[in-house]
Structure formats: structure tokens, C-alpha cells
């Protein structure tokens, strides 16, 4: 439990964590009350973070490999507008976590336990812990694959990434952690120059967005798997837990909800651009009939050399490494936030080590366990990567139902509860996710319903 600081002769009853958060909030208050032409931009700079991080964090290792597989398997066509749609869905869901965090000042796991009790809380946490562990494994797969392109041995690559995760959290300051991670995350856009080097035909790209086609080969079992993987690449349970906890840790209030929305929208747009760029970057593999079904991150970069050159392939490999690294930082943080919220212990990246040691230990342990699992020889990495996204889609409907129950709870949300439009979109996304899962299930049980 965090210890309050009570200086002599002062009525103060706050902790070091509170002081750090208050320092960040004071800068926001001063800007809000100040004047100047760049005030709104400076305010936006202070308040952005959780939304961009969650969206670019979800453009993680398995996501980028799924997008690369998509481009190599289907080229420029149906999946371009489909990916844009999935990010619109992600925005709808994540915007609710901004309001929840700002209105209640509680993390997602804490709210589920408080409002629905331990029984349902346990299920939500089981989904999160299982999903996070699997996803973290794939992040280190991406790190290993990305650095493998440069000849870095797997053990060195994985250990190096783990050390970065540890170093970033040891700043013991949410603001510093957020800015460093944002600095890493922006490199997700490295896929844009790679896409340009692949010389996509602009008329094909425009036509794809308007016609949702072509879809070479039609609806097959492989198509269903990629649809699921692409949905799982944008909407997953850890995102709900992470963004709400980060909003609380950053200290956002109801006055900041508009900026929280802008932050989330910027994140969604940037992430969609990076995702679509990845599809365009690997589309030449489809055009030249290269079999990409067993390509990992580094192998994708190697296969792209004839089409995007050595520089393009190098950038692609860096992008895969970066995607894994940023997600390893954010997903391990979401595990630690949830642990602290459920156990009532420290749950802030502003916590000093003596008070938040358990929080930091969980964060590092989550990353370390996943890093160790990645080094198991002969693991079927491509299959694991694709299935992780599928599992994320399957675990999402219950997570969204908890979210919808909480965000419609006027007792805790007051005037910031969902309106009819937000509920319509939320329910629509849930139904789409359940339908996608059912179609996947039916085609798994009856594989001959669709051509392979």
C-alpha cells in the first residue's frame, strides 16, 4: 500500500505518486488558464499519449506480420478498406475507455471487480492474463525476427528488448515513460516509405477503397483466418485495460475527454496508415506469385529485397522489431496495471520503487516469461502469431460487454455515460466480432464448406 506524505504542519495526505501526477496536471491547468496562439497545440501535446500508444501499440508484431501476410496473399484490394473499418471499430471502443477512466479515475480491472464482483472479475482477468502472455510471446518473436535480419542472435535480441522494457519503466515517472514509448511508437510509420518503395499503383488503391475489391480466390478458409487476424490486429482486450489505466495514471479528468478523443483518433489514423502501408509494401509478393505462407518477419524483409531494395527491406525489418518492442512495453504495462488494480497495491508508473516494487516486478516478470518462451527451439512461430490474433477476437465480445455495462452505468459515469449512438456502434461492433468468431468456428468444424 502506498504511504501518504504528511509534512509537519500541513494537512497534506498525498503520496509521491500524487505529487508527480499533480505536477503534470499543473502544467495542464496553467495552459488552460493562459493565453497565446500555440496554447491549444501545447495543451494537445500535454494531453495526448494513451490513445496514440494504444493504437500504435496494437500495431504490434503479430499485427504487422498479419498485414504483411495479407498483402502477400491478396495484394491491393478488399483488405485496404477492411483494415480502415477495423480501426474505426477500434476508435469506437477505445473512446469509451477514455470516458470511463476520466469520469471514474479507476482502471478497467478495478472497475470490473468493484461493480461486478470477484466472480466475473476473475473471468475478465483470466482472459486478459492468458491473452497478454500469448501476445507478449509474439512480441518477442517479432523482436527476434526483426533483429534476425541484421544477424543478431535470438538470445541477444530478446534480452536486449527485455532490458529496454526494464529501462523505460525504471524512470518511475508516467510522463517520461509515455514520451519515451511514444518516441519508439512513431517509428511504426517506417512502413510508409517501404510502401512507397514498392510503387503501388494509386488508381488500384483508390479503386480498392471504393469497390472493396478485388478479392482474389474469393472466400476461402485462409481468407476467414486473415479476416480474423486483421480484426484481432486492431481490437483486443488488453487495449481496454491499458488505455483506461493509462488515462487514470496520466491524470485525465472529464475536462480532458475531448482531447482524449482527439488523442485516440490520431492514434487510430496513424495506426491505420501504418497497417495499410504494410499491406502495400508486401503486395508485390502477391503480384509476383511468391509463396508467403511460411514467411516470418525477417524472411518477409528478405523476400521484399527484389521489390523494395535493400533499404526498403532494412526499414521493414526495423519496423517489425519496433512493433514488437513497443507492444512489449505497453502490454506488460497493462498486465501490471490490472494486477495492481485487482490486488489493491500500487498501480502507477509514478510509483517510487519502494512502494511500487510489486507493480514493477509484475511488469518485468510478464515480459521476462514471454521472452524466455520465445527462445524455445522449433516453435511454430507463424502459426502462433496468426492464432494469437484469432484468440484476441474471440475474447473480445465478453470484454466489450463488460465495457458497455460500465460505460452505461450512470451511477459512476453521470453525464458521461454512453448515448444511444455510442451504444448503437458498440453493439454493432460486438455483433460483428461474434459473427466473425462464429464463421471462424463453423469453417473450422466444417472445413469443406469453403475452398481451401
Amino acid at each position: 500500500m502506498t504511504q501518504p506524505i504528511c509534512p509537519e504542519g500541513s494537512p497534506a495526505d498525498f503520496t509521491e505518486e500524487d505529487i508527480k501526477r499533480a505536477g503534470d496536471r499543473r502544467r495542464v491547468h496553467l495552459l488552460r488558464n493562459g493565453k497565446g496562439g500555440t496554447r491549444s497545440l501545447r495543451l494537445l501535446w500535454l494531453l495526448i499519449g494513451p490513445g496514440i500508444l494504444v493504437m500504435l501499440g496494437e500495431n504490434d508484431g503479430p499485427s504487422m506480420i498479419s498485414y504483411a501476410q495479407t498483402g502477400a496473399s491478396y495484394g491491393v484490394g478488399f483488405f485496404l478498406p477492411f483494415i480502415a473499418l477495423t480501426f474505426a471499430m477500434a476508435f469506437v471502443i477505445q473512446e469509451m475507455t477514455v470516458r470511463l477512466g476520466a469520469a471514474t479515475k479507476r482502471g478497467h480491472a478495478e472497475l470490473i471487480y468493484a461493480r461486478f464482483g470477484r466472480f466475473w472479475g476473475f473471468f475478465a482477468m483470466a482472459d486478459l492474463v492468458f491473452g497478454n502472455l500469448l501476445t507478449l510471446v509474439t512480441e518477442f518473436i517479432a523482436v527476434r525476427a526483426g533483429l534476425g535480419f541484421f544477424g543478431v542472435p535470438p538470445a541477444i535480441a530478446v534480452l536486449g528488448a527485455l532490458l529496454v522494457v526494464v529501462a523505460v519503466v525504471l524512470t518511475r515517472r508516467y510522463w517520461t515513460w509515455e514520451r519515451i514509448t511514444l518516441g519508439f511508437a512513431i517509428f511504426n510509420l517506417i512502413f510508409v516509405p517501404v510502401a512507397l518503395m514498392a510503387h503501388p499503383v494509386s488508381s488500384q488503391v483508390v479503386r480498392a477503397f471504393f469497390s472493396w475489391g478485388p478479392l482474389p480466390g474469393g472466400v476461402t478458409a485462409g481468407f476467414i483466418l486473415l479476416v480474423m487476424s486483421n480484426i484481432g490486429a486492431t481490437v483486443t482486450p488488453w487495449m481496454l485495460f491499458f488505455q483506461q489505466s493509462a488515462v487514470v495514471d496520466k491524470g485525465l479528468t472529464t475536462a480532458d475527454i475531448r482531447h482524449g478523443r482527439i488523442d485516440t483518433a490520431i492514434g487510430a489514423v496513424l495506426a491505420a496508415i501504418a497497417a495499410i502501408a504494410t499491406v502495400l509494401a508486401t503486395a508485390p509478393l502477391f503480384a509476383h506469385h511468391v509463396d508467403a505462407s511460411n514467411l516470418e518477419g525477417a524472411a518477409f524483409a528478405q523476400a521484399l529485397v527484389p521489390y523494395v531494395g535493400n533499404i526498403g527491406a532494412t526499414l521493414f525489418a526495423i519496423g517489425i522489431f519496433e512493433a514488437g518492442l513497443v507492444a512489449a512495453i505497453t502490454i506488460s504495462s497493462s498486465s501490471a496495471y490490472a494486477f495492481g488494480e485487482v490486488t489493491g497495491t500500487a498501480r502507477s508508473l509514478n510509483s517510487p520503487l519502494r512502494e511500487g516494487w510489486l507493480f514493477y516486478a509484475v511488469l518485468v516478470a510478464a515480459a521476462a516469461i514471454a521472452a524466455a518462451l520465445v527462445l524455445i527451439p522449433n516453435a511454430p512461430l507463424v502459426l502462433i502469431v496468426l492464432l494469437v490474433n484469432v484468440i484476441a477476437v474471440l475474447a473480445m465480445p465478453p470484454a466489450i460487454v463488460f465495457l458497455m455495462l460500465l460505460v452505461n452505468d450512470r451511477e459512476i459515469m453521470g453525464e458521461h455515460a454512453n448515448g444511444p449512438m455510442a451504444n448503437f456502434f458498440g453493439v454493432t461492433v460486438t455483433i460483428l466480432l461474434v459473427l466473425a468468431g462464429l464463421i471462424f468456428g463453423i469453417t473450422t468444424i466444417f472445413p469443406h464448406l469453403l475452398p481451401s
Partner: protein, 77 residues
Amino acid sequence: MNNNMEIELQQTALPNPSSNWVYEVLEPDQLSTAKQPFGRQALNRRTVILLWGLRVYVVLMVLLVALQTWNAFHSAQ
């Protein structure tokens, strides 16, 4: 931004714990030791059925993913 404001922003980097400025910028629920617990929300029968239905859905789907993984392993060998 004017000079006074710049100075004030710099001062926030060195907060003085003996002042009450923390209370002025944080809302009561933002203090880590002062959060009031929320009570339980009563779940109606329809919601409980929905939650159980989704729980069954997740378990079945995870079993299907395991089945597909098993098939993929065997077809690869």
C-alpha cells in the same frame, strides 16, 4: 506563452510537498490514498445469461482454435 507562465511551468518541475498545490490541481478521486470504493452493481437476469453465454462461447471457440492448431501440426508433419 508569456514569461510568467514559463516561470510557473518551470516551478512545477520542483514541487514543494509542504504546500497544498496538489489539492488544487488534483480532483479528490485522483489522490491515490483517498479513493472511495464503488458499490456493487446488481446484474439483472438477462445480463447474467448474456455473460454466461459469452463465457461458453469463448470456451468453445478456444477449443476450436486448439483443434485447428492440432490439425495444422499434424498436416505439417
